[in-house]
Symmetry: C2
Subunit: 292 residues, 2 copies
């Protein structure tokens, strides 16, 4: 397992982590400046942040700072209530692939979606098997396109508490079953993003990380699970503040040959987003070196 | 699949559902009176409610009302930080078995526990594999005793969002692996409580219900998953108000030969516990007949 204690060369900052400073929005260019100033070599930006700043502006900044993208957040949200919705989702995912390509991201992260309408509070139906079938079809179709521009797709299994409204792929095993179905040759075009927040609880985690192997481990995200967790979405903890044995899981991933970035992704309305972004970033660096 | 539309003979009320009326505690004897007055034939009471009213008082009331217990809530919480804690947990679980026996419960439901200390906000360690090992040892030991008094133990896999602090058994597959290990002869002494709130999201749910079979399906609990869910513990929905396809899951359970009660268990600080208990109970009966 790599030694992270001496420097933060393998730290990536998911830009949602620094989305807010003292409760106010931080524009993406400012986040990139902050990261570059501290010698962070990689980021993973969100589409809404890129759109707000402008893709070409972000693309230039990424290059001028010499930043890599450990991933691009995010494609997905495949299920829909009708054919028009399915087509709109596909078109939007193609654009996400193009943006990821323009930014030279290591992969496009897929948060696959849940029951159509559920995120807005009113599910169109209760058939999660149908949603899962639409996810498989949607990934299959997107994969055809992503292969042509050489953009790997990383399915991110989300915690089961998001099964209804954000992602109906909820375990590593399920995500890898999709990979086996859609890319049986293990070409590297399709894999998984392992976010420990979503999968740390899984009794089959070690086994499924081994099953994934190096070919399918496309991204590794860290934060921590707090007790108590006060909000289902925006109460993620800073590494070391919760109950996840992060080095153990990183060890499993690296035992498969994963040698990429450890990406910090923290949504925290009440805590970290209320602090100065510089404090949050400095803490990410310090914890990366001590508890990841 | 049984027809529930004509009456509520297969409805059981988990007494936590009626724990509060307009925000005020409702004593267990009053809950039993309410249920009996509406022709509810079964309940599943919580230990703290039984203790507050007195075991012998509750036992007499259960008999005088002719109520059955679809289960007794709850044993478990096996993991501990030291030997004294493990012994205390075992002793308490033996008492829970005795109480369940006194009340002639169909089973003792086991919420197995998570990382010791986590429920109080400070986990003693981060080794969930150790906690799981202590759970297996704890159930094995309790099972030896429970067999002697013929009280079936029902492992309740809890939603993965409770893995840290309430139960580190989080899928049907994991619970059934424990059953296979500890009661390979399928004697009926050990099984699972299927609470749809905890397992509805699981892509392997149908497969694992079939694996459980009639011998190991000891209890069936219903409520609903709301979108959004505002609280990790106490924002369960009334059947029909959320996204779970309840009849589909009940169909899978009954296809295995399960013919017991459908037990309503709703924790709802902001909604149902703020209403009159009579309104909550009447709604349970109505929804049992229409959407379960």
């Amino acid at each position: 397992m790599r030694d992270f204690s001496q420097d933060h060369r393998w730290l990536s900052i998911n830009t949602a982590t620094l989305r807010k400073s003292r409760g106010a929005d931080v524009p993406l260019p400012q986040i990139l400046d902050l990261c570059a100033a501290r010698g962070v070599r990689a980021i993973s930006p969100w589409r809404d942040q890129v759109q707000a700043a402008g893709l070409s502006t972000v693309s230039k900044l990424v290059r001028s700072h010499g930043l890599e993208l450990s991933g691009y957040c995010r494609g997905g949200m495949f299920p829909a209530a009708d054919a028009a919705g399915l087509k709109a989702a596909h078109d939007d995912n193609r654009r996400a692939v193009d943006e990821a390509r323009e930014l030279d991201a290591a992969c496009l992260v897929l948060v696959v979606g849940g029951l159509p309408g559920a995120l807005a509070g009113k599910a169109a139906h209760k058939d999660i098997a149908l949603a899962r079938s639409q996810v498989q079809d949607g990934i299959a179709r997107l994969l055809d396109y992503a292969r042509t521009v050489k953009m790997p797709l990383a399915i991110e299994p989300l915690h089961p508490m998001y099964a209804a409204d954000r992602a109906c792929v909820n375990t590593m095993e399920q995500a890898l079953d999709l990979c086996d179905a859609l890319d049986p040759q293990r070409t590297g075009a399709l894999g998984v993003a392992v976010d420990i927040y979503h999968v740390w609880w899984d009794p089959k985690l070690q086994q499924q990380i081994a099953r994934a192997g190096r070919d399918r481990l496309l991204a590794f995200h860290v934060c921590d699970w707090l007790t108590p967790t006060r909000d289902l979405l925006n109460d993620r903890g800073m590494m070391g503040d919760g109950v996840i044995d992060i080095p153990r899981i990183r060890g499993w991933v690296e035992a498969q040959g994963f040698a990429g970035y450890s990406e910090v992704e923290i949504f925290s309305t009440q805590d970290w987003w209320q602090r100065e972004a510089t404090e949050t970033l400095d803490t990410c660096i310090q914890r990366h070196k001590t508890v990841v």
